[in-house]
Symmetry: C2
Subunit: 144 residues, 2 copies
């Protein structure tokens, strides 16, 4: 079973966002081993050092300047990663972003859109997209 | 004060999504008169007819095939609309989409990303983006 790590900065303060994430985490247990890691807010450098220490396997950075992908393309990336190794790590930067600090370890930068979102809401979306990706790979009816 | 209408299909079943939307609706009362309209799920044609009867002012359709915009561009669109008239209507299609049924009344099609999202989660994002747009226009610190 693939291990999916989601590494992000700071904790979720809003209850409704925490509930949304819990829901998708519960659903994801059917498809992967999910590890959610929150590093402490700090300077961009300190956040990146903490993130770096948590990375494993294929590393994907969510970055609005990355390659704009569709949900189908995300599911293909997850399928390919499963063949390359047993772990995929997604990084969601904090409000400072990660600059170029992690360029040497990032395999790919992806973007889910050009809009700026609160990174806490972005976490909900990433969870939902990973869940959707697995349902696409399994040919399930969630994704139409 | 600008009236912002958000017209979408079906009601929100998940409590955490309803809570998220309520939060942004509360915040938006400072900036605009917000009208949230839910039309009944049905065929694509019946959904579109219901939507059509609710439209007013400048009509913007959220459509993944529309123009990919940034949060700043959305705020500019809202600013321009304020000069053109007093109402802006955003349409979020249901799971069938709206096809070409509303092309004669839609002023612009915008896309917030290429990913497929549950339209209920998309509603949260649109609320957040409209809130963000007003904070950009007012030069407030929410958007960095």
């Amino acid at each position: 079973m693939l291990t999916v790590k989601i590494i992000s900065v700071g904790n979720i303060k809003e209850v409704f966002l925490r509930d949304a994430i819990s829901e998708y985490q519960k659903r994801l247990t059917r498809y992967c081993k999910l590890e959610v890691i929150e590093v402490k807010e700090g300077t961009q450098k300190s956040e990146c050092e903490q993130i770096r220490s948590k990375l494993k396997g294929t590393v994907i950075l969510c970055d609005t300047r990355g390659k704009l992908i569709t949900s189908e393309e995300l599911s293909e990336k997850i399928a390919i990663t499963s063949q390359r190794g047993s772990t995929i790590s997604f990084i969601i930067g904090g409000s400072h972003g990660v600059g170029n600090f992690l360029d040497d370890v990032v395999y790919e930068k992806i973007s889910l859109g050009k809009i700026t979102l609160p990174h806490q809401l972005f976490r909900v979306i990433l969870h939902e997209q990973i869940y959707r990706a697995f349902t696409i790979l399994k040919g399930e009816s969630y994704h139409k």
